[in-house]
């Protein structure tokens, strides 16, 4: 497995590096522009979509690239959102600094939960991740002076970006800001997963024992990846807090974690594009269908999940991609 991956991605010469930079900018930029132009009245929703997308990307780093089974990732996202909310209420108004606060608190949360979760494999690992999530949820309810408890933390009013662009009801600023953040994060992550560190993580996922034999210190590497993942989730949480101005208990909840996992697997874990694709498609559909009836939506998602496990275990992204390749190959043949 590992050998295959390395052979697909040869050492990066300058053109490849440029391509790595240019493709995300162009693709996400185009998608973003399309969203802005086609759905100018849905920007609030699209902005929220971007922050959840960051959570899914973050989840991909640990699930897809390290093979860690977790159902508690929203804890990181939510804690960062609460931290950002509190920082903002305390008077820190600059959105970029707030983003840094989110990233930092995400880092801390990621390292802590990574240290606990990645010590184990299989069931204990899964259960620990769930327990951490629930623990954070119960604490968030209890510490209502910091979180507002069930009432939510409100009154978050960030200042202008660079002192110029203010946030308004129509979410234009918020949307473009979030889009820019997404593009930057995506580029950094693309570099990261192709780096020796990223490749080693994949090696650990595919064969833990072999990675140990090579002499890799597995545990610290997993914690490190968890830390990175925490930063990304934290940035997502920060965007959520900045853009909606309210942070509720749902941001740390089990359902948010489960939903993120579903999106990831839908798109295809182990590929950043898969995570992006899954998050966008899932939320777009959810937005349309669940407005009509949330329970029908649940049924639909359930059926989709079952179908994916049965027919496209790699996720929809790779399935579509391979079908496309096959079609092209067939088309090329005279």
């Amino acid at each position: 497995m590992t050998g295959q991956h390395t052979s697909v991605e040869p050492r990066l010469g300058p053109p490849a590096a440029v391509r790595q930079l240019a493709v995300p900018v162009i693709v996400i930029g185009l998608l973003g522009a399309a969203g802005y132009l086609v759905f100018p009245e849905d920007l609030a929703f699209l902005t929220r979509l971007i922050s959840i997308t960051l959570l899914v990307l973050s989840l991909d780093l640990v699930v897809g690239y390290c093979g860690v089974a977790t159902l508690g990732h929203a804890a990181i996202f939510g804690v960062a959102a609460y931290a950002v909310g509190n920082a903002c209420i305390a008077g820190l108004a600059d959105p970029l600094l707030l983003l840094a606060v989110g990233g930092l608190s995400g880092l801390v949360m990621g390292l802590v939960s990574g240290a606990i979760v990645t010590r184990f494999h299989g069931l204990p690992q899964l259960v620990l991740s769930i327990a951490i999530g629930q623990l954070v949820g119960a604490l968030s309810n209890k510490l209502s002076s910091l979180t507002g408890g069930s009432d939510g933390l409100s009154g978050i009013t960030p200042g202008r970006i660079f002192g110029v662009f203010g946030f308004d009801m129509f979410s234009r600023t918020g949307y473009l800001f979030s889009l820019a953040v997404l593009i930057v994060v995506f580029i950094v992550l693309t570099r990261l997963v192709a780096s020796p560190f990223g490749l080693l993580c994949r090696g650990i996922r595919d064969n833990n024992l072999r990675a140990r034999m090579i002499g890799a210190a597995v545990y610290p590497r997993l914690i490190a990846m968890y830390g990175v993942s925490g930063v990304v989730a934290g940035i997502g949480g920060a965007l959520m807090a900045i853009n909606t101005g309210v942070v509720g208990l749902d941001s740390v909840g089990f359902e948010r974690s489960a939903e993120a996992l579903v999106m990831l697997v839908l798109g295809g874990a182990g590929s950043l594009w898969g995570a992006l694709f899954g998050a966008i498609v899932f939320q777009l559909f959810e937005h349309v269908v669940s407005a009509a009836n949330p329970y029908h939506w649940l049924t639909l998602v359930g059926l989709l999940l079952v179908a994916i496990v049965l027919f496209a275990p790699q996720g929809l992204g790779p399935a579509v991609a391979s079908r496309w390749r096959r079609l092209r190959r067939a088309g090329a043949r005279p």
């Binding site: 089974a69 204990p124 899964l126 620990l128 327990a131 629930q134 209890k142 359930g302 079952v306």
Partner: protein
Amino acid sequence: MMNTVLSIGLDAVSYGMVLFTISIGLSIMMGLMRVVNLAHGAFAMIGGYFASYAIKQLGLNYPFAIVVAVLGTIVISAPLEMLLYRRIYRGAGELTQLLLTIGVTFVIIGLANYVFGPTTKSIPVPAMLSGPFDLGFRMIPTHRLFVVACGLTTALALWLLIERTDFGVRLRAAVDNGDMAEALGIRTQVIYSMTFAIAVGLGAFGGVVGAELMPIEPSYALRYMVTFLVVVSVGGAGSIPGALAASLLLGLADTTGKYLAPEFGEFFFYLAVIVIVFLFPNGLLGRAQ
């Protein structure tokens, strides 16, 4: 003071027994088939709906309604076993199992809402089991005593089934070494299917008798999805005494927490989980895998 400690202990035992009755089915399934079945709560919920429907619409009495609930749930789950669960026994990774069973749960929730509506469905208990029961030093809901009895009976019956019957011997063989058992002529697929039915039936049974504490409504399956999984992993998958110990211990953590500091919610429950799983990754009485 003594009185209070006793009372909390009693509440803990009865809550623990509800946890046990529902979780034990999952524990067996996870011990034998190694399936992390997040849909177990959904099956318990189906049992609850059956019982509620049987009593309120069909006018059946309580014991009969329980039988209907257990059998009905097994019948509904059988096609799921054949079409879906069979693919994820043993071999499949956790992630695949999680997704498939979350998917099944979502579908069941959606359908439950479609068929029964979003509101709580009560399961009326017979007069004999409702109201308070005087223990001398305190009153306790009669129904709780019934639940404790159900839990103990279940544990005993399962123990007998596994230790004293022919089926139990085959089952243990399949757990210890599936391939060897197959080679010796034990049809493991049949064993698996029967175990699945037993597990689901136990879940449904627990869902019905535990409905006073965990009311039946569509989000039941999601709300308690992880609770049962947590109990099983704390106890050690496949171990009946382990599940019993875990249920009682976690019941105690939860009840004491609720008595001393109710505003903390499930904090103590999950704190206990983290500590125990950290110290005993294979569960209190589980075997190293």
